[in-house]
Subunit: 622 residues, 2 copies
C-alpha cells in the first residue's frame, strides 16, 4: 500500500505520445513566469536567459547551423538548467523514508507534495499526499470508508470536484397534501421502467413483477404504485399530444390491403362507432397495413375485438440504423414472448371489445430485456413508429397515438384492484418472501399493509374521479386486514402491546418498516378525506391510531446520521438495518408531507434534522 | 477557497536558506537514477551525460579554463535539459482553469498534482489536490466533517500519518468479572486528577466535586469511583514502596527543634505506640522540623492529634528550579486554601487521633488549580520531599511515605459511604442538576442509581476485605432506593410500563442512560455474589430484572455506527444524544464484562459490533 510515485510517473510519461515535441512552445511561455513567481534561488539573469534559449536542435535537421557562441555562457546556461532540473525534480516530491535536512525537506515538499503512508486505524495503509502541514487523502479511500459520493464536473471550462453526502433528493411539498392530487412524490416515479418489472400485462394493463419470483407475479404494491405514478403525472404534466389514426369520425385512407386480405368499415353496435373489420389469409404476406411516420409519441391505444391469434402490430424503426422492431399485440394469453426483433404481448383470447393502451418503447425494452439484450439509452429520441399491421381477423377502432395516456394506465390499476380484491378485502401476494434472518418467511398468500394502503389511495382517487361506488366500496373493504394481526393472515403488529403498526411485511416477530407504514397512513388519510373530512370513519380512527404510533416511535428510527429502514435490531436483536439514502429520502419526503397534515412539531423537526443528515450533518454527541 | 499553489510555493522557497548551494550534490546523485526510472522522452545518451556535466562555472573563478567542445553536443545537452526542465515544472502541476490537450494535461498533473476546488454538498468549497484520476482531500476538512482523528508519527525515522476513527480504547477482560477483584476497567481511572475534583477533603479523605456546583460538594458517584479506582489499582499494581519516617519501632534522629519549641517521644495509650509530642511558640521561626530527601514517592501518611490550627507541613522542592511548595495539613475545618506556594488542607478540629493519608502531588496541583496556576506536567519526576515541619502543639506518629496507599483511599471512600448513608439507604446529591432540555431539573437531594450501584460495589469489596458487617448492611440498605420510582425520590424508571431501568439521572420523563444503568447492575451483581452466589436475595432479583431490561433495550442504543448515551430522543422527542467515543468505549467495556456473566449472545454480539464501530465499521444498509 505504500508504493511510491515512481512507478506511476514512469508509466505516465510513457503514456504521453508527442509530449516532448509539444513542450518546446509551452515551456518557453511558462518557465519565465514561474521562476520569477517562485523566487527560485538561481540568479535572475541566468533564469531569464533560459526562455530565450535557441530552438532545440533536432537530430534529423540537416540545415541546423553550427553556432559559434561564448562557451562560458553556454556552460552557465547548461549548469543552471541542470540545477533547476534537480530542484524541480525534487519538488515533485518523491516519497522518501530517509530523513533529510529540514530546509531541504521543506523545499522538496513545497509544491508538488510528497507521498506519505496513512495508517488507517492501525489496520491497513493508504497512499496519501503531504504538502506542508496538510495531509491529503485520496477520495477513492474516503468514498469507500464513509460511503460518500463525488464526481468531476466541468462548468464553463472550470473543472471541479463535487462531493455529495447522499445520492438522493428531498422534495419539499409545495402545497398541503390532497387525496385528489399527486400521491406523495410519485410524479417522479417510473414504475414500468424498473428492472424488476417484467412487462406490462397485455390482458390486465398493469405491471408484472419479478422481484421475488422470476416467473413473474402480480404484486399489488407495484400495481398500485404504477397507478399512483400515472395519476400523479397526469396532475403535473401538461395535456398530452393525441393523434387520431382511426376512429368513428376520422379515418386514414392509407390502409393497404394485400391480395388475400379484406378490410371494411362498419358501425359497431356495442361501441356505437365505425370500426375497421379485417381479415387476412394464413400466410405472412397476407396483411392489412398502414404506413405512418410518428416520432416523439409512442403510446398507442386502440379498441380491439380479435379472433384467437389475430394481432395488431406496431412497427418501430430506428431513425439512424434502420433497425426495425415489431411489437405484436396478439389475441392470446401468453404474457410476453420475444425473438429477435419480434416482441409479442398477449391481450387475451375472449372475443369481446377491449381497449388496449401500450407504451411501445416500454414494450420494446421489456422484449429486449427478456432476451438479455442491453437496454437502450433514451430510445424515444431514436425511434419512430413506421407502420401498423393487422393480421388474422377481427375488428379495431379508436386507434390513436399519444404522448401519454396516464389516466388509462391509472384506471387499469384501479380496475385490476377492484377485480382482484378477495373476500377479506386484500390482495394476497403470490410470491414467497424471505425478509430478514430470524424472522419467519412470508408464505405465498401474505398481505402487505403497504399494498392495502396504496390500493386505497388508488381506489379513493378512482372514486373521486369517476364517482363509481365500486371503487369506494373496494377501498373501504381494504381496511379490514389492517386490523387483523399478522399471525392471523393480516398485517397488524402492536409495539409493546400498545402501539399499532401496519406492517409492510407482516413477519413474526414484526419488523416495523417505516416507509411502508407511512404509505399506509396516507391511504387511510385519503379514504377518510374522500369519505368526507367530517365523517366518523374507520379510516379516520385507524389513521389517528397510526399517527399516535408514528409520533411515539419515530425517534427510534433516528440513527443520529441517517435513519433505520425498520426496527429489526429491536425485534430480532440483530445488527440494525440502516436505510440507504433513497429510502432515507423517502422518509424525509413522507415526514414533510405529514407535517402539513399534523402540527405536532416532531414531524417537521424530524424531517428537517433528517434532511440535514443527507448533507453530512449529525446529531450532537455529548 | 481556490487559492492556487503559487503563492504558497513562493513563500516556501523563500524560507529555504542555502537551498541552491546544497542542490548541486543532491541533484547529480538523484537525476541519473530518476531519468532512467521515468523513461523520460529525452534520448538516453544525452540524459546520461547530464550527471557527468562539468562543475558549474562560477563568475568569480578566474582559473576557469575556456573549454573547447563540440558546440552541437553542448546545445543538445542544453536543449534536453530545458525540455526536461519544462516537463518537470509542468509535472509539478500548477492549477490552471484553461483546458489543455488531454495528453499534455495528463503529463502536467501526472506527478505533483494540481489544486482543484471541491464543492461540498453544494454548500461550500474546500481546496483539494488532483493527481491523475485521483482527487485528494485535506485531512483538516475530513477531520471536521466526519470527526475523525489523525496525527503525524515518526517511527525509526519513517514519518507516517496515523488515522484513528475514535480516540478511545477497549479493554478486553482477561478473566471473568469477580466482585473481589478489579471493578470494570477502573484500574485505569485517576479520579483525583480530574479537573472537576476540587481537592481531596483532609477531613474525609475523599474527593470534593465541582461538577455542577463550583463551591464543591460530595458527589457519591465520584467518591465511590475514587474508592473503586484505588481498590482496582491495589489489585493490579505491584506492592508499594513504603519508607517509615517515624513509628513505634523506628524513629528519625534528625528532628531539629528550634529554641522556643519542644519535642518529646512518649507511649500513646490509645495508639499503643510511641509518638512524637511537640509544641512550638506562636511565631513562624519556632518549629520542629526534619530534613528528608525523598524522590519518586509522594504519598505521606501519619497519625495526628493536633490542637486547633496546629499543623503538619510537607515541603516539596523542585529539583531543578529550587522552587519550594509548602503543603500544610492544619487542624481546621477549612477544605482547602492556597496562597502562592503555601497550600492548606484542613484535617478537622476534633482533638482525637486521626490517620491522614495524602498524595502530596495531587494536593500541590489542586492548590495551584485554586490559584489558576497552570498544571505541571509529570511533577512526580521534578519534585522531591525535602522536609517535614510540625507547628503548634499536638502529637504525631506512624509517619511514612509510600509510592501508593490505595487501600487507605479505598477505605476512606467506604467509610464515608457508611457514615453518610441516610435512612432510605441513599446518598443524596446536594447539587442541582439540569440534565436535558425538556426534562425536569434534578433538585438538590436527588439520588442516582449509579451512586447507589457504585456504593454497593465499594461496600461489597470493603465487606469482603474486612469482614465488617457494617459494610454489608450499608450495601443492602442501598438497594431500597432502586425500587422507588423517580417521582417519589427514588431512581427507578419503567420502560413502557414493563422494563425496569435504574436511572443515573432520575428525571421526568426518564432518560434511560446506558452506562450508569450497567454500573448499577454491576453493583447488584457484586452484592449478590458477596452475599453468596446461591442466596436468594433482593440484589439477585434486581439484577435479573435489570438484565432482562438491558437485553431487550440494548438494540435501541445502537446507532449503526456508534451508540446513544441515553434514550432522550425517545422520551423527550428531541435530537438523539450520541455517546462520545469515551462513553461508547465504556459501553463496549461494560458489555464485554457482562458477556462473561451471561451467555445471551446479544451481549457479546453487540460488544463486538460496537467495538467495530470504533474502527470505522458500520451496520449494513439495505
Amino acid at each position: 500500500m505504500t508504493a511510491g510515485g515512481r512507478g506511476h510517473a514512469a508509466i505516465l510519461v510513457g503514456r504521453s505520445p508527442g509530449l516532448a515535441t509539444r513542450l518546446g512552445h509551452l515551456a518557453v511561455r511558462r518557465v519565465g513566469g514561474r521562476i520569477d513567481e517562485h523566487r527560485a534561488p538561481a540568479p535572475p539573469k541566468a533564469a531569464g536567459s533560459a526562455p530565450s534559449a535557441p530552438e532545440p536542435p533536432r537530430a534529423a535537421d540537416g540545415t541546423m547551423m553550427l553556432l559559434r557562441m561564448n562557451m562560458r555562457t553556454a556552460l552557465a546556461v547548461l549548469c543552471i538548467s541542470v540545477i533547476l532540473l534537480m530542484l524541480l525534480w525534487n519538488r515533485c516530491g518523491e516519497f522518501s523514508h530517509r530523513p533529510i535536512s529540514s530546509a531541504l525537506s521543506n523545499a522538496l515538499s513545497e509544491h508538488g507534495g510528497e507521498q506519505i503512508e496513512c495508517l488507517i486505524n492501525g489496520e491497513y495503509s493508504v497512499a496519501c499526499r503531504r504538502e506542508r502541514d496538510q495531509v491529503y487523502l485520496p477520495f477513492s479511500f474516503i468514498q469507500k470508508y464513509f460511503e460518500v459520493y463525488g464526481k468531476m464536473t466541468n462548468t464553463d471550462g472550470v473543472e471541479r470536484f463535487e462531493w455529495s453526502h447522499s445520492y438522493s433528493k428531498v422534495y419539499h411539498p409545495k402545497r398541503r397534501y390532497d387525496p385528489r392530487g399527486t400521491f406523495a412524490t410519485f410524479e417522479n416515479y417510473n414504475v414500468e421502467v424498473r428492472e424488476r418489472v417484467k412487462c406490462i400485462s397485455g390482458v390486465e394493463g398493469v405491471p408484472v413483477s419479478t422481484q421475488w419470483e422470476p416467473r413473474g407475479f402480480f404484486y399489488p404494491t407495484q400495481i398500485a404504485q404504477f397507478g399512483l405514478a400515472h395519476y400523479s403525472k397526469n396532475v403535473t404534466e401538461p395535456e398530452p399530444r393525441v393523434r387520431v389514426i382511426e376512429d368513428g369520425e376520422r379515418h386514414s385512407e392509407g390502409w393497404i390491403v394485400s391480395q388475400d386480405a379484406t378490410l371494411t368499415r362498419e358501425l359497431d353496435q356495442e361501441l356505437k362507432a365505425r370500426v375497421l373489420r379485417f381479415s387476412t389469409a394464413d400466410h405472412a404476406s397476407s396483411q392489412v397495413w398502414l404506413k405512418v411516420n410518428i416520432s416523439q409519441d409512442f403510446v398507442l391505444s386502440f379498441d380491439a375485438r380479435l379472433k384467437p391469434n389475430s394481432s395488431v402490430t406496431a412497427v418501430l424503426q430506428n431513425k439512424d440504423k434502420k433497425e426495425t422492431v415489431y411489437l405484436h399485440y396478439v389475441a392470446s394469453n401468453q404474457l410476453i414472448y420475444a425473438q429477435d426483433d419480434h416482441i409479442y404481448h398477449g391481450i387475451g383470447t375472449e372475443l369481446k371489445w377491449r381497449r388496449v393502451t401500450r407504451d411501445l418503447i416500454i414494450d420494446m425494452q421489456k422484449g429486449w430485456a427478456l432476451q438479455d439484450r442491453p437496454k437502450r439509452k433514451s430510445p424515444r429520441n431514436k425511434f419512430k413508429i413506421s407502420s401498423l399491421i393487422l393480421s388474422g381477423s377481427g375488428a379495431v377502432g379508436g386507434i390513436r397515438v399519444s404522448s401519454s395516456e396516464h389516466m388509462a394506465h391509472f384506471f387499469a390499476a384501479a380496475n385490476w384492484l377492484v377485480r382482484r380484491q378477495r373476500a377479506r378485502g386484500g390482495w394476497p401476494v403470490a410470491a414467497r418472501r424471505h425478509v430478514a434472518p430470524g424472522a419467519s418467511d412470508l408464505r405465498p398468500g401474505w398481505h402487505s399493509a403497504m399494498s392495502q394502503g396504496h390500493a386505497i389511495s388508488v381506489l379513493a382517487r378512482a372514486y373521486s374521479r369517476s364517482g363509481k361506488e365500486a371503487y369506494l366500496r373496494a377501498a373501504q373493504r381494504a381496511l379490514l386486514l389492517l386490523d387483523v394481526p399478522s399471525r392471523a393472515g393480516g398485517v397488524k403488529a402492536t409495539w409493546m402491546d400498545r402501539y399499532v403498526w401496519y406492517e409492510e411485511y407482516p413477519t413474526t416477530p414484526p419488523l416495523f418498516v417505516l416507509n411502508g407504514f407511512i404509505y399506509t397512513l396516507l391511504g387511510l388519510y385519503d379514504l377518510h378525506v374522500i369519505e368526507g373530512e367530517n365523517s366518523i370513519s374507520l379510516a379516520k380512527k385507524m389513521f389517528d391510531d397510526g399517527m399516535a404510533s408514528l409520533k411515539t416511535l419515530l425517534p427510534l428510527f433516528d440513527t443520529g446520521s441517517g435513519s433505520f429502514y425498520d426496527l429489526r435490531h429491536f425485534t430480532l436483536g440483530v445488527s440494525p438495518n440502516v436505510a440507504r439514502w433513497d429510502y432515507h429520502a423517502t422518509h424525509v419526503n413522507q415526514l414533510y408531507l405529514l407535517a402539513g397534515l399534523d402540527p405536532d412539531p416532531i414531524l417537521l423537526n424530524t424531517a428537517k434534522r433528517w434532511e440535514g443528515y443527507m448533507q453530512g450533518r449529525r446529531a450532537a454527541h455529548n
